[in-house]
Symmetry: C2
Subunit: 197 residues, 2 copies
């Protein structure tokens, strides 16, 4: 259509999550019409991020600093570690601003089906962080899936002997959620975990 | 969350057509996890395209060559020029591989409402191309909107005196389209333009 540069750009844009060939063409066209104000800034941002962002060697968060800006923030509660599956979960909790402690990114969950065992997860560094002392509670904020529950169970067995309180995020009716659209598992969990009103 | 580089990347990705803050975060996260295989190639493709792609000085197509690869292709029928509103329309026709002639990109349509007059469109170069001789037919492939029809009418008045055949793409029922979901205007146009079966 317009040379190999445009074809390659559209092919790479189409691989982004949420994009397809059609939206990639629209995005490419829009950017090609404003190369200086739209394309070059994005090219620079991508190159900068690729060069500077790395995994935090303490918690597994992605940041341009190592240790990351959460691990080095003196305002955060260092007695509290929230264990999440991935960086996307950490981002969600940070956007909600609901956790004032530190994090630990597992990098997945145990999964017999996908052949993911404990050695594939970022577990040993978590145990080391707790053995170093200072941590009193570990919050397991894993997904409410079979693999998430298995992982939470397995982690609890390993963490409790280290003398820390281990908790899990509650399961129940999402805020704003109607009961009649919820699945049976969520309804059962919400009933089981009922509290005095 | 993870430093200014990640924030800036997400902000720029969210501006792409079809993307929002949520999909931009997903895309950024996915790329940050594979910087070398996903991020740097896209950064390079964007920078390459921004540097090399420009408007064809003959037809207005976007290409890394000027004149563009369509204008310089000896296989194309140089007696036939298809006039389109934008490069996206040209891409659509090229994907469908239904036009074997050349193109001319107007860069918009006349619009009293948006204050777009003939001087804002790429019209003078079109008239010059035809005055140079060799063109026998100009196909107006403009949108079936009020502005598209106005522009087609206005262009026809200017092109006909130059001794070329001026045609318009047909309006009617889209292939695969059911009649009962079509608007009245399309139905009327399809009936008006009926042909012997």
């Amino acid at each position: 259509m317009g040379g190999p540069e445009i074809d390659r750009l559209i092919r790479l844009l189409a691989k982004l999550p949420g994009m397809g060939p059609r939206s990639a063409r629209r995005a490419a066209l829009k950017m090609l019409q404003q190369p200086d104000s739209r394309m070059l800034p994005l090219a620079t941002a991508l190159a900068d991020a690729a060069r500077s962002v790395r995994s935090c060697s303490l918690c597994g968060n992605l940041d341009s600093r190592d240790p990351c800006s959460i691990c080095t923030n003196p305002q955060r509660d260092r007695t509290l570690i929230c264990v999440v599956e991935g960086v996307g979960d950490l981002w969600a909790l940070e956007r909600a601003a609901v956790h004032r402690g530190l994090y630990h990114v597992l990098g997945g969950t145990l999964s017999a089906l996908s052949g993911i065992g404990p050695e594939d997860l970022n577990v040993t560094p978590l145990l080391a962080r707790i053995r170093e002392g200072g941590v009193t509670e570990v919050i397991l904020a894993l997904g409410a899936t079979v693999d998430g529950a298995t992982t939470a169970h397995w982690l609890t067995d390993r963490l409790r002997p280290l003398g820390v309180t281990v908790t899990r995020v509650a399961q129940g009716v999402p805020i704003g959620g109607a009961l009649d659209v919820l699945d049976d598992g969520t309804l059962a969990a919400a009933l089981r975990a009922r509290r005095p009103s």
